[in-house]
Subunit: 138 residues, 2 copies
């Protein structure tokens, strides 16, 4: 069974990536591994823990209706999100990685952040980069 | 019928992109539009014309066996390859764009060139970025 790895953050670009990854998983009868990675160097305090739970609830809400088989990995390992994504993609031999590109508010211009660049360049597999719809913006 | 747009150059990254695009087209029963774009500002002389014919022959060779329906657009419009790709993707309402990421020889390190960055940021649809296998390098 093939596996698709998707990076999730509870933001418009994270939702867009998750939605697209679920569509691709349905199309291929693939399994999803959702990676929710916490930033390097930040302590994992109770506020973040609550935010994580909310993120997890949101992933469940978005995916449960699709019938796609998935697992969520919340990683707090002191690594950059890019490193976490790449490590998971290598481990599960991912078919591809889905990432969302974020907009720099308030102008809404898209930027290619350092994590996106690193995933694009260092991933062991193809990377599908998606954008949130304009009207999805927070 | 959905359409996938793929950028082709007769180099390892172009072949990797074309191969992946053909697989995706088979999976979705989609049509491929192969864009072979000539650089901005260069005159289109007879040498380039010969190179184009060779590129076209290579695309045919790679795709004819797949059974995928495709068209090749060779664009010499004085635009950057990124602009050509985006214009075609808009025109055909592409499901997504496939691009190959190139390696900077001789070290083999991948780079995110300005065309790749622009396509990632400005495309109207998701972008699948693929890499050539190391052993495919020229």
């Amino acid at each position: 069974m093939t596996t698709i790895v998707v990076g999730f953050v509870p933001k418009p670009e994270g939702r867009a990536a998750l939605r697209r990854a679920a569509e691709e998983a349905q199309l291929r009868d693939a399994k999803l591994v959702v990676v929710n990675s916490h930033r390097c160097g930040r302590s994992y305090d109770s506020d973040e823990s609550v935010a994580s739970e909310a993120a997890l609830a949101e992933v469940r809400q978005q995916l449960d209706a699709t019938g796609v088989s998935y697992e969520v990995r919340q990683l707090v390992r002191g690594l950059d999100p890019a490193e976490d994504m790449i490590a998971v993609a290598e481990q599960v031999k991912a078919e591809f990685i889905v990432i969302g590109l974020r907009r720099r508010s308030p102008v809404g211009k898209l930027i290619l952040g350092s994590n996106a660049q690193r995933i694009l360049l260092d991933s062991p597999c193809p990377v599908l980069a998606v954008k949130a719809e304009e009207d999805e913006e927070e």
